[in-house]
Structure formats: structure tokens, C-alpha cells
Chain length 131, copies 4
């Protein structure tokens, strides 16, 4: 997934504000979910949402205004109630930011953890079978 | 209401990103509502939210990192289903941003306009009586 | 220009946070500038930036998570030191947000207004000639 | 440091968007720096900025609209070119988010790492002496 850097993304240091890289990671995970045929808005209407519960991030370089960065999203492990992703942000094949992200599924009405929807588990299995 | 400018608020131009001033206006309106004794989270749980429907903004100056700006919030007019505010952002008594903001009340479940909650109308009337 | 709505764009009301529409307008203006062959990062390195000085916005509808909105950018008028744009945000041909945006050019080192760079003026004239 | 949660901070899940907690951590670090008598805007004008280079975050709970959270900032270690912080976000003494954050100093003109300014080192030492 490619993401263009706009003024909104930068800060007074002249580079992308560090917290914004987390948004790019989330955009890439959302795209990954959408590509599996899952509609997050439909899940949300059933009070189901994905939340980040653990994250480790290394910032090695910076993107600037007008840059076009690439964001990756690789599922390392899917458990009953959480998924572990490895994600990178690259600029011209140079690694800028690297992260491992653990995502859980919650019921937004009761703020309680819940199992990952079976439609997502099935879509992941089907994709693996195709690979 | 005073607001400190952090890195998150600035952009690569070295000043506050223009859309962020709208956040400060909204913080000041939220504080105004809270000071009237209204809990927005409680309203939200009843599917009631305030949304901006019309806005006119003049940007005359800029705030920078570490600046402490003052944000005002004056109710010009309260109708059955909307409120009109005059809001300014100042730095050391110098006007930076000026806006008129029209806010309506919506039912978030049906995305439909609705009358302003009577508890807010009453609180406004009571405040006027005290003034 | 098409923009996908992610979690980062929404608020607890379940819709896009109003100030974020200004980011989409700015992304569309940046894309318009880039399509004219102007590099904003290069301008920035010469201490030249575009800033919004006046804006009028009507919010008529809302976008939700996963929506794909269209953002337009039409130059109404170019003067020596400012440009006036008409911008819309649409979802499935339904108008959500409409704005007129006045943009000026500033020297970021002295925070002073300056004339629009001639390369941009020339690119606008050339585009008009082609149209 | 106490931070109020506004609409801008939340997402369609009804809770604070995860990347925004990084902003609160940065606000607390900025306040810590300011309390040491260091002016970040003055540093920035000399092309000196602090950047996050490594971060590990555990999200254990969520804040909602109108909540007033407490953000802590404890310096664990100061080296020649980096500082390590332990930071927590709490709501009513309940731990919501916990992080370790490694911050380095960079020259923004050359995007190069540099030693932490001696005025900051001295201020840290002086504070330790007072403690």
C-alpha cells in the first residue's frame, strides 16, 4: 500500500510526526482486512472493533512532505482472540519504520475482549490455502 | 480557555496546521457545554451529538510550538435545533483566528437532525438569568 | 481525487470528525499543485508555503468508516498573492461538504505574505491555454 | 499532567484512537522539558529537535469522551545522544496505557543525530541534585 505525505502529516521538525506512522500502519491493516472481504463498518454496527493491545516500533528514518511511502502488512500469527502483524514503512526501498503490532477484537458496547469473527478466520484460512 | 501548542499541532511550515484551529474551537465549545453541567458522553450514549453544519473562518496569524493561545466561545444565538457561536483564538491579545460556527444536534443512530436537548436549553437560560 | 475513510478519520459520533474534511481539501489542493508540476517540498526548502487565510464551509452530510469519498478542487481566481478555490466532497454523487478556500503564499522564515511563485502562475496559465 | 479527552481524540469505536495516546506521551515529555527551563521552539530555530527512535507500548484499557486522564513522564536514563523514558496514562488510578520511549536528538537541517544540548543535560543534573 502506498501513502502520500501531506502537510497534515508533518510537524515543525519538517518531517512526519511520529504518531502518524501508526495511522499508516492502521490504514494498511484496514486495507488488508478489506481485501479479505471483511467490512469493518458492518462489524462496527454489530459493536465489533479491532484494537491494538501491544506495539513495538523502531523509527530509523523520516519521510517528508510529498514523499510516497510504502506500508506493508504481514500476518505473523492468528490466535482465537488476537492477531500479530509485522509492518514496515519504506521510502525508495529504504526502511524508515518497523513495527510488530498485536491486535485484539473487542465488543465496543461492553468494552470486552471477544473472539475474532469466524468470517475473518475463514478468509485468512482461505487465503493461506490459495497461497 | 488556554491551549498549549505541541509538536502534534504544527506542520512542516513551522506553524500550527490550519485544520487544528478547528479542534481548538471544538475544545472550547466542549468546555462551554461541560461548564453548563452537560455531559457529552452521557448524551452520546443516548445517540445525541453536536455537529458543525456551517463555518466561516478568517486566519490572520499563526501560532508556533510552545505558544499558549486563548480560545473564546460566545453563544450568539440559540434556536430550537441549532446554535450559533462566535469564536476567536488569540496570542498575547493578538487575534490569530476568528470564526462563526453553526452547530446542530443530531441523532447519531439515524443520522437525523433533532432538537437541542432541553437540559442544555435550560442551562443556557439559567446562565443568562444569572448574568 | 478519491479518499478512503479510516478509523483515524472518525470520531465517537461514528462519522468523520469535521476538522478532518479540511485535511481532505488540502490533500486535493496539494495534488492539484503537484499535477501542475510544482514540488511543495522544494518550495518549502526555499521558505515558501501556501497558507489558508479564509474559508467558508457547509457541512451537509457525513462520511463513515470505509467510505470512499471524492474531493474536488477548482481554481476560481488567481491573484498576485492569493488563490480562491471552490471545493466539494461527495459520496456516491451526494454532496457532503462544500467550501470556498482562499490560499495565500507566505515566506515561512519571516511569516510574511509574498507573491505566488511565477512557476505556479505560469503552470496555471499553461493549463488554461491547454483547456 | 492531566489531559481532557475531546471528540478529536476519539474514533468510531467510541474510544480514544490508539495513535493519539502517543500525542499525550509527547505532550507530557514536552511539559517535562519546559519545566526544566528548555524552550523547544528556540532549539528548533537552531535546527535542534527531539525525535522518538524506539517505543514499546501496552494498551490495557481505553479512555472515552470527557475523561480526564493523567500522563506521567519519568526519565529512566540519559545518555550522550538519547534519553529513555517510562510513561503511563491513567484514569482514576487505573492504568490504561504504558510505554517505554527512547528519544534522540537530531539536527533537522541535515537529518543527522547529535548530542543532547548541554543546557538540557545540566538542567537534568541540577534537578537530580535537588531531589
Amino acid at each position: 500500500m502506498q501513502i502520500r505525505i501531506y502537510y497534515e502529516d508533518t510537524d515543525a521538525g519538517g518531517i512526519v510526526y511520529h504518531a502518524n506512522y501508526l495511522k499508516y500502519f492502521e490504514r494498511a491493516r484496514s486495507t488488508w482486512v478489506r481485501d479479505l472481504g471483511i467490512k469493518q463498518q458492518a462489524l462496527l454496527e454489530q459493536s465489533i472493533a479491532f484494537v491494538v493491545i501491544d506495539m513495538s516500533i523502531q523509527f530509523k528514518g523520516s519521510a517528508k512532505l510529498d514523499d510516497l511511502v510504502t506500508v506493508t502488512c504481514e500476518l505473523l500469527q492468528a490466535k482465537r482472540a488476537s492477531m500479530l502483524f509485522k509492518q514496515d514503512i519504506l521510502l525508495d526501498n529504504k526502511l524508515l519504520v518497523s513495527a510488530t503490532v498485536k491486535v485484539a477484537c473487542v465488543n465496543t458496547k461492553y468494552a470486552k475482549p471477544m473472539g475474532i469473527p469466524t468470517e475473518l478466520i475463514d478468509a485468512i484460512d482461505k487465503k493461506k490455502g490459495n497461497a
